[in-house]
């Protein structure tokens, strides 16, 4: 185990460092003529905007995501069946399309929802020329960023909540706390590390998020860091030095956040899956149930149903328009998309790549995290345990650091540097799916690692200890005890990575060609031509297909547990 984990860590580090080094050497020696990075004072407002958008959005997502997770996992107040899938659904709309769904609804002049509201208002005598909701605003950006991040939080938190011993909630209620107070005082704090982890992941995701700020922010004249970095890279001549400096700065911020998180939420004090059987009772909410149902339904309507309806409408139009020209609606966009062999090929390649990448990433991240979990084994933690001492947390810290490395590197930079690094001998990977695979793996590693880390932290030590006592090697313990227990969390990570890769456009546009086509490129191409209807049609097709994948995955991972507790 030791060597394997060391090798994996070195490989991951190399996957980041080597291409970056090539880029730095290659690009700069060619173009650098002065020390001027082109970073000026306007950066301050960009940083401030980023702080507001990402901070606000991630907090919004934390609140919504955690609430949804709580309702679905701990209470009888959600919807059975699709309940655990619905909150994830909006994330399945690839990249720019998701935002477009919102623009279609909430464009201040022609947004369908706005038009509807205006019509309604006009009945009561209020006439508005535009609005009332302007999505092209700071509020809109925060809200949409938040909505975009909800699934991330939801996936992580719900996986952690799934295994929580209901007894601690029951004890709270016996002692006079109602369901809400119990949730706030007991349930959520008991998974505080997962909450912190999810939040951090939300922040990482939010910082890297490009489609929302580029579409909404341009019009709102609010520039954020990801857009600025993108500009540094895509303006010709590009300014990769500035981009790299900013990316490195963000990495520092994220590592700092990680450290703060560890300090504020020592992982010893969370609820873990313990050795006493956990009864699978859900909190009965009684009259609150109606309220939570409404909440969930409201979220699903807002985050999934409405935008998808909006997009569906666009996808049957010849071009996006406020005026619905009923006579012109047709499925021709779908025909075009599905009738194109190149598109179909890219769809297949993308699905395959996403599945393989997600699996590999989760295997690697899961292994590393479980390994770290094992390593803290003899450190004197018990049933929740005390704080780890330095020597053990060393492993975890190294793993955290290495897997965080790619977190903030802009995808376009990853794309460029991978061309530089892996085209020539001895790799010769250019134009193959492997270069995409490597690039995806690299950029998804932080997400995979965060998800896996959160998942493993909920497994109580004694379960692994018991396995070791009964003669099982570390490997067997991981395979038979830890892995099944962290499976829901790993599945959550899998879904995240899968979705990210399916929707990835930036690096894809650089690395994918006719020999290794992926849907990200096709989408970007359609976007570039302004062919929104076809892009939407393709996005909806992708949405349906990936929904099936994700649904299957979530089902599969939950079933084992349902059996043990139901």
């Amino acid at each position: 185990m030791d060597t394997l984990s060391a090798v994996l860590l070195v490989l991951i580090a190399l996957l980041v460092i080597y291409p970056m080094a090539r880029t730095v050497i290659g690009l700069f020696s060619a173009t650098s003529d002065s020390g001027d990075l082109g970073i000026d004072s306007s950066l301050l407002s960009v940083l401030w905007n980023t702080l507001v958008v990402v901070g606000g959005g991630s907090i919004l997502a934390l609140v919504c995501g955690a609430t949804l997770a709580w309702i679905n996992e701990r209470t009888d107040g959600g919807f059975r069946g699709l309940g655990d899938f619905m909150p994830v659904a909006p994330l399945l709309l690839p990249a720019v399309t998701g935002v477009l769904g919102w623009v279609v609804l909430l464009d201040p002049r022609i947004g369908l929802l706005n038009v509807l509201i205006r019509t309604l208002l006009s009945y009561v005598g209020i006439d508005l020329a535009d609005g009332p909701i302007d999505i092209y605003s700071m509020g809109g950006m925060v809200a949409i960023t938040g909505l975009h991040l909800v699934p991330v939080v939801y996936l992580i938190v719900s996986a952690a909540l799934r295994n929580l011993d209901p007894a601690i909630e029951e004890a709270s209620r016996i002692n006079g706390a109602g369901p809400l107070r119990t949730a706030v005082r007991v349930t959520l704090p008991a998974v505080a590390p997962a909450l912190a982890g999810a939040w951090l992941l939300g922040i990482i995701n939010g910082i890297g998020l490009f489609s929302v700020p580029v579409i909404l922010g341009t019009n709102a004249r609010i520039e954020v860091l990801s857009v600025r970095i993108w500009r540094y890279l895509t303006d010709y001549p590009s300014n990769p030095d500035a981009a790299l400096v900013l990316a490195a700065g963000m990495l520092v911020v994220i590592l700092a956040l990680r450290t703060v998180q560890k300090y504020l939420v020592p992982s010893g004090r969370q609820a873990t899956i313990g050795g006493r059987g956990v009864r699978a009772t859900r909190m009965r909410l009684g009259p609150f149930r109606l309220l939570t149902r409404l909440l969930v339904a409201g979220y699903i309507a807002a985050a999934v149903v409405l935008p998808v309806l909006g997009l569906l409408l666009v996808s049957v139009e010849p071009f996006w328009s406020m005026k619905i020209r009923w006579g012109q609606l047709s499925l021709v966009n779908y025909q075009n998309v599905l009738g194109n062999t190149q598109t179909l090929r890219s769809l297949l390649t993308s699905l395959g790549l996403a599945a393989v990448c997600a699996t590999v990433a989760m295997l690697v991240a899961g292994f590393l995290m479980l390994y770290a979990h094992q390593r803290r084994g003899t450190g004197g933690r018990r049933r929740g345990g005390k704080r780890r001492d330095g020597q053990e947390s060393g492993h975890k810290r190294v793993i955290d650091f290495v897997t965080s490395l790619p977190a903030t590197i802009p995808h376009s930079l990853i794309g460029v540097s991978f061309i530089l690094a892996f085209s020539g001998k001895p790799f010769g990977l250019y134009g193959t799916v492997f270069i995409l695979l490597l690039a995806y793996l690299t950029m998804e590693m932080p997400y995979a690692a965060s998800a896996a880390g959160t998942a493993t932290s909920v497994v109580g030590n004694e379960l692994a200890e018991a396995s070791r006592i009964f003669g099982a090697s570390e490997r067997r313990t991981v395979g038979r005890i830890l892995l099944p227990l962290v499976l829901p969390g790993l599945a959550a990570g899998w879904v995240l990575v899968f979705i990210h890769i399916l929707g990835e456009v930036t690096a894809s546009s650089l690395l994918s060609g006719s020999s290794n086509p992926v849907v990200g490129r096709v989408l970007l191409d359609l976007w570039g031509q302004g062919n929104f209807p076809q892009m939407t049609a393709l996005a909806i097709v992708i949405w349906l297909i990936s929904s099936v994948f994700v649904l299957l995955m979530l089902r599969l991972s939950n079933r084992r547990f349902a059996r043990a507790t139901g």
Binding site: I168, E170, A171, I174, N175, P189, R284, R383, G384
Partner: protein, 385 residues
């Protein structure tokens, strides 16, 4: 005489509550079935009981008989299939009337069998929780938590986290949390099982003192006979989902209603035989060790096959030689086991194996012949099935 003993014994300790006390917990025809893949498990079947104000009702029964389930139903943590539960005069559950109050509105405390401590809160915060939900002032919280931590002997551990405590310490935190709120009704699920005898004795005493001071009503699950008899005003002996007998400790101990109870509470020697004749309110039974006088538990016809049950500690050893007169029979010592405060003898009498317990320090060697005498009041005769 023992029958007399019950009369002089402290009423606080053993009496069936004589005052017409208001019932604080009342359970009527409670039924609860768990549906599992290996079929339905009926954990409670038509259970009824009343716990009076200020009374401690002990639930005694083998592992898996439904004690925890009963407590959880009363607490509102489990949803029964049928029946009615009243707590503090308020119907908190009724399948007929469709009432089911959530736990937080039932006004009771509980010690969980699995402790159910909150891992993210310090010991102090864990214990303070019920007070804080009741909006007690910070000073008051500090004072009362300090007091109760003192009581359970954890005054130094306020700032520790549950994960840093030993098993017994965790259990005591759980106990402290239930006691701190001064609720009128407290449910205890094996609250002292992981504690050593000393601490347990002390806490038992403390519980009694507190009970006298606050006057709480309790349903108390334990598997410790000493705890059951020492704490319980009444004991309910449970048998797979039903109440086998409910009565004062002495009732249960001296006049068990069934073989099951006789055997479960304490232990019992059993001799089979048949009724020879009635002697006043006694019967003479012919057994393999000779005729024995005993107290019948039901109407019995002559010749009816019966079992005579008596407790190991109710046999007296008399030097051998005295004939089998006055409910005596002779035995051989097979093995003697020293068990701290008492000695246990495995005896054989005409092929029957019996157990005898005595506090007499005079240890008999294996093979010794002894006569065992039996008080007819304490030899209970049950119909053979």
């Amino acid at each position: 005489m023992v029958t007399q003993a019950r009369e002089v014994s402290d009423p606080e300790q053993s009496g069936t509550a004589s005052a017409p006390a208001r019932s604080r917990i009342s359970v009527r025809n409670l039924t609860k079935t768990y549906r599992t893949r290996r079929g339905d498990v009926t954990a409670l079947r038509n259970v009824s009981m009343d716990v009076d104000e200020g009374e401690i009702m002990v639930l005694l029964g083998p592992s898996g008989c439904g004690k925890t389930t009963l407590l959880r139903c009363v607490a509102g943590l489990e949803h029964p299939d049928a029946g009615e539960i009243t707590v503090n005069g308020r119907t908190v559950y009724s399948s007929e009337r469709g009432i089911s109050l959530p736990p937080e509105r039932r006004n009771l405390s509980m010690v969980f069998q699995s402790y159910a401590l909150w891992p993210h809160m310090s010991v102090f915060d864990n214990v303070a929780y019920p007070l804080r939900t009741a909006k007690t002032s910070a000073d008051e919280v500090r004072r009362r938590v300090g007091e109760v931590l003192d009581t359970v002997g954890l005054e130094k551990y306020g700032s520790s986290y549950p994960g840093q405590l030993s098993g017994g310490q965790q259990q005591r935190v759980s106990l402290a949390r239930a006691l701190v709120a001064n609720q009128g009704v407290i449910l205890f699920d094996e609250p002292l099982s992981n504690l050593d005898a000393k601490v347990r004795d002390r806490l038992r005493e403390e519980l009694l003192t507190l009970q006298r001071k606050i006057g709480f009503t309790a349903l108390y699950v334990t598997h410790d006979q000493t705890e059951a008899t020492g704490l319980g005003d009444r004991i309910a002996v449970m048998e797979v989902g039903t109440v086998a007998q409910l009565g004062s400790p002495t009732d249960i101990y001296y006049t068990p209603a069934s073989r099951y109870v006789a055997d479960f509470v304490g232990s019992a020697n059993e001799l089979t035989g048949s009724v020879a004749e009635a002697v006043g309110d006694r019967v003479r039974v012919d057994t393999s060790v000779g005729p024995l006088l005993g107290t019948p538990t039901a109407g019995m016809a002559k010749g009816e096959p019966v079992r005579v049950l008596f407790r190991p500690e109710h046999c007296l050893i008399a030097p051998d030689g005295a004939a089998a007169e006055g409910n005596r029979f002779s035995c051989t010592v097979e093995r003697s086991t020293f068990l701290g405060s008492h000695v246990e003898y495995n005896l054989s009498a005409s092929g029957q194996r019996l157990v005898l317990k005595t506090m007499d320090g005079n240890l008999l060697a294996s093979g010794a012949k002894v006569a065992v005498s039996l008080d007819p009041t304490l030899a209970r005769v049950f119909p053979a099935d």
